[in-house]
Amino acid sequence: MIEREYLYIVFGMGFVTYIPRLLPVYFLSGRTLPGWFIEWLDLIPAAVLSALLLPELVTTGTPRLFIPYRLDMIVAVPTLLFAIKTKSLGGTVVTGMGLYWLLDIIFI
C-alpha cells in the first residue's frame, strides 16, 4: 500500500536530513576548536553561498549546461551592485525581484 511506503519514505527522509543538521551544532558548540579549523569554518559561508549561487545563475537544465547569458545572470549584475552600494538586504531583494519581473515582462 502507498500509505505504508509513504510513511517509510517520509520518516526516513526526515531522519537522514536531521542527522547532518544536528551532529555539528551538538558536538562542536562550546568546544575549543583548533585555529585552522575555526578559520576554515569562518570561510565556509562565503564559499557555500557562492557555490549555491553561481551555478544557479549561469547553468540550467538536467544535466546542467553552461548558459551565461540568462535572465537570472543579467539581473544579478545590477542586484550585486545595489547590494554592494547599499548593504541593504530588504532593498536588494525588492530590487532584484523588481528587475527580474520587469525584464521578464519585456522579454516575453
Binding site: 502507498i2 509513504y6 519514505i9 517520509v10 526516513g12 527522509m13 537522514v16 536530513t17 536531521y18 547532518p20 543538521r21 544536528l22 551532529l23 551544532v25 551538538y26 558536538f27 562542536l28 558548540s29 585552522w36 575555526i38 578559520e39 576554515w40 569554518l41 569562518d42 570561510l43 565556509i44 559561508p45 562565503a46 564559499a47 557555500v48 553561498l49 557562492s50 557555490a51 549555491l52 553561481l54 551555478p55 545563475l57 549561469v58 547553468t59 544535466p63 546542467r64 549546461l65 553552461f66 537570472d72 539581473v75 544579478a76 542586484t79 550585486l80 547590494a83 548593504k87 541593504s88 530588504g90 536588494t92 531583494v93 530590487t95 532584484g96 525581484m97 528587475l99 527580474y100 519581473w101
Partner: protein, 233 residues
C-alpha cells in the same frame, strides 16, 4: 528603549530578518505542492513531508523519484546525499552557539536550511544575535514552507506563484548575503574559487554534490593561502 531580551523584541527582529526567506519560499513551496499533488500526494501528505523533512530540493527529488517508481531505500539514500551539505552549515553555526542549552540546539538543528543558515550566520557574525532570534528565523521559514507546499497541493493551478518576480527573491537574498560575507580579499578569493569550481563541477557531476565539494575545497584553499601569506611576512 527596546529590551533586548523581551520576547516581542526577539520576535520582531527574527521576523524582520526572515521575511526574504519566507517570501522566497512561497513560489518554490507552491511549485512543490503542485508536483506532489500530481504524484498522488494529498495536501496533508505533502504538508507532513514538508514538516518532517524541511529541505526543498531533496523533497522535489524524492517526489520525482517516487513518481518514477523508485523504492524507499533509494529515495532515502538520495535524500541523505543531497542534504549532507547541511553538515557544513551546522558546523559554521556552531561557532556561535556555545552557550545554548541542548534542547534549543535540538530545536535549532531541525531548521538549518541553505537560506536560514545564510541569514543567521550573517546576523551572528555582525554581533547582536542569539539563538532565540535564530530560532524565530528557522521556524517562521518552516511555517511558510509547510503552508506554501500545502497551498500548492490544494490548487496550485489556480495560484500564480511566478508573479512579482518572487522567483528571484532567494537569488537576490543570496547575492546580498554573499556581499555581507566578503569582508576582505581572502573572502573574495574563497568565494571566487568556490563559485568557479562549483560551476565547473556542476557541469560534470550529477546532483548537487558540487556544492559541498566546491565549498570544502575553496575554504581549504583560503586557509592555505592565508598560511602562506602569514609565513612570508
Amino acid at each position: 528603549m527596546k529590551d533586548k531580551n523581551h520576547i516581542g523584541g526577539s520576535l520582531f527582529e527574527g521576523l524582520s530578518a526572515s521575511w526574504p526567506v519566507c517570501l522566497g519560499y512561497i513560489p518554490i513551496g507552491i511549485a512543490f505542492g503542485v508536483l506532489a499533488q500530481k504524484a498522488g500526494f494529498t495536501p496533508f501528505e505533502t504538508g507532513f513531508m514538508s514538516l518532517l523533512v524541511f529541505a526543498g530540493s531533496s523533497q522535489f527529488i524524492a517526489v520525482s523519484m517516487f513518481s518514477a517508481g523508485a523504492g524507499a531505500v533509494s529515495i532515502i539514500a538520495t535524500t541523505f546525499v543531497v542534504n549532507l551539505r547541511h553538515l557544513l552549515m551546522s558546523s559554521s553555526l556552531s561557532l556561535f552557539l556555545g552557550r545554548s542549552g541542548r534542547k534549543k540546539l535540538f530545536a535549532f538543528a531541525y531548521g538549518i536550511t541553505d537560506e536560514s543558515f545564510a541569514v543567521n550566520f550573517s546576523k551572528f557574525k555582525s554581533g547582536d544575535w542569539d539563538i532565540n532570534r535564530a530560532l524565530i528565523v528557522n521556524y517562521s521559514a518552516n511555517i511558510m514552507w509547510v503552508l506554501s507546499t500545502v497551498a500548492g497541493g490544494y490548487g496550485g493551478q489556480f495560484i500564480r506563484p511566478h508573479s512579482f518576480g518572487m522567483d528571484y527573491a532567494l537569488i537576490a537574498m543570496f547575492i546580498c548575503l554573499l556581499v555581507f560575507q566578503l569582508k576582505g580579499p581572502l573572502y573574495v578569493f574563497t568565494a571566487l574559487v568556490a563559485g568557479i569550481s562549483a560551476v565547473l563541477l556542476s557541469l560534470c557531476l550529477p546532483g548537487n554534490s558540487y556544492i559541498m565539494i566546491a565549498s570544502v575545497f575553496a575554504a581549504g584553499a583560503g586557509v592555505f593561502i592565508k598560511k602562506i601569506l602569514k609565513s612570508r611576512m
